[in-house]
């Protein structure tokens, strides 16, 4: 793999950009691999990269029905943070934040990670009590997180309106300085390029239609381009986890719901951090100047990647109440991703009753931030068959054992 650097940029500028090689190969689909990862999004590609890098497992196929990063990796609102509620989630995402800081250097690809901090507005006493508890837990895990007065919130986000008529007053805010954003496509491309360079095959436009099992263990996957044999099959899919797992006879505690986002026209720099508001709306400003605005999930489960108008109306109402300056801003695009939401809104990174079938699914509204830590932990699980400490609490059998991991820090409607 040829590295990207100031020298390669300069050389290609002089050579009329004729010297750029393809970022990754487009290999033919073979009949057999040591492991097949379904889904060439951030999680699948990161898992393939760490399998090859940390475990020397290079005979790996990453297969996708669309294109690299074309699913929810390309549809999210790119927020990266660790201010979760449960100890297990906090530890997992704190490790994730460390990996995000090092990602561009490790992959040799600028993922434009920007550690700009996140401000959460608090408008009810119940929420204030909740964040006090979270503050203690985050402190124990070494994650910086503090409760600040409304005046400091206003100083950090000058476009915030504290004085106008509100249904509820802003009581306080929390400041999480190590949160940030990154370029979502670059994350997928960076992992794809690095995994490809280590020998992983990435095959696009090839849909996995079923998982084939031979008695109690996996024997491979059926695809639109024929059968592929593999002793290990790993699902890193969103929206279709239930459908695919069902072909192997595995039932999941998952519902698929749409999660909406939209992007405004480019504006002058006006927002230096990520802001999360009550009423399920959060926003940040991209380097192009567009405001990236996300909402809570829709109330009706659906695979259609389209949000409902009622949800959009609620998001915009809450947005304009706190940021009246945005009332006349025009929106460029609105879309929805279909997210897999677990019963307890925590993910599933787990073995299953079917030997050789691994799951990295159910990330709900928080899959993007979990790409490096989730991919690395998933690779450990696939290679060693042992769930490591970071993901032990995310096992599928937690429901049968009576140990669900209820989480309140997601953007989903079950908050």
């Amino acid at each position: 793999m040829r590295g990207y650097s100031i020298w390669s940029l300069a050389r290609n500028a002089l050579a009329a950009r004729a010297d750029w090689p393809r970022a990754w190969r487009s290999p033919p689909l073979r009949a057999r691999y040591d492991a097949v990862i379904v889904g060439a999004g951030g999680h699948g590609l990161a898992a393939a990269y760490y399998l090859a890098r940390r475990h020397g497992l290079r005979d790996v196929l990453v297969v996708d029905k669309g294109w690299v990063g074309g699913g929810n990796t390309g549809r999210n609102t790119v927020t990266i943070r660790a201010n979760y509620l449960r100890e297990e989630s906090i530890r997992f995402h704190a490790e994730g934040l460390r990996m995000w800081r090092e990602m561009s250097g490790e992959l040799g690809f600028n993922v434009m990670f920007s550690e700009r901090g996140q401000l959460d507005l608090i408008q009810t006493w119940a929420k204030l009590r909740d964040v006090k508890r979270r503050q203690s837990l985050l402190r124990l895990a070494g994650v910086p997180f503090e409760i600040v007065a409304p005046a400091e919130a206003k100083a950090r986000v000058p476009i915030l309106d504290l004085d106008g008529p509100k249904r509820l007053p802003v009581l306080a805010a929390t400041w999480h300085p190590t949160a940030g954003v990154a370029r979502h496509d670059a994350v997928a491309w960076g992992y794809a390029r690095a995994a490809d360079a280590l020998g992983v095959d990435i095959v696009q436009n090839c849909e996995v239609t079923a998982i084939r099992r031979d008695g109690g263990r996996v024997s491979g996957v059926e695809t639109t381009r024929g059968f592929v044999a593999a002793p290990k099959v790993a699902l890193a899919v969103s929206a279709h986890a239930s459908v695919l797992a069902a072909t192997a006879g595995v039932r999941l505690p998952i519902e698929t719901v749409p999660l909406q986002a939209f992007v405004s026209e480019p504006l002058k720099p006006m927002l230096s951090c990520v802001v999360n508001c009550p009423g399920q709306v959060y926003l940040s400003q991209s380097d192009k100047g567009e405001l990236v605005i996300g909402g809570g999930s829709d109330p009706v489960p659906s695979y259609a990647q389209r949000g409902e108008f009622a949800t959009l109306e609620r998001i915009v109402t809450n947005l304009v109440e706190l940021f009246p300056v945005l009332g006349r801003v025009r929106m460029l695009r609105q879309w929805a991703g279909a997210i897999d939401l677990c019963h307890d809104t925590s993910p599933i990174v787990s073995k299953t009753d079917v030997e050789g079938l691994y799951l990295d699914v159910g990330w709900g509204s928080g899959g993007f931030k979990a790409i490096p830590a989730g991919g690395a932990a998933f690779a450990d699980l696939i290679a060693t068959d042992m769930p490591g400490a970071p993901i032990a609490a995310f096992a599928l059998d937690r429901f049968a054992r009576g140990r669900p991991l209820y989480e309140t820090a997601g953007a989903s409607n079950r908050d």
């Binding site: 239930s242 998952i254 749409p258 109330p299 009706v300 695979y303 049968a400």
Partner: protein
């Protein structure tokens, strides 16, 4: 806003309703209780599900919907 056909009230705005999801039979205590409590079929395609007219006549009824397109099917 999308209209939901209530058998009592006729078509009403979706905000008045709660989608209660796929109907499930009463669990057999001898069977796998975790499966009955937590697992979902989460089918992609036409499903027959429970809806509740919470802010209306408060009736529970069954309604067909295609989860692939999110359109109601009669």
């Amino acid at each position: 806003m999308r209209l939901v056909p209530c058998p009592d009230c006729g078509p009403r705005e979706q905000n008045e309703f709660v989608c209660m999801g796929e109907p499930s039979p009463h669990p057999d205590p001898a069977a796998d209780l975790a499966d009955a409590l937590y697992a979902r079929t989460n089918a992609k395609g036409p499903v027959d599900e429970m809806w509740w007219h919470k802010f209306g006549c408060r009736r529970w009824f069954r309604l067909g919907r295609d989860t692939a397109s999110n359109a109601f099917v009669p």
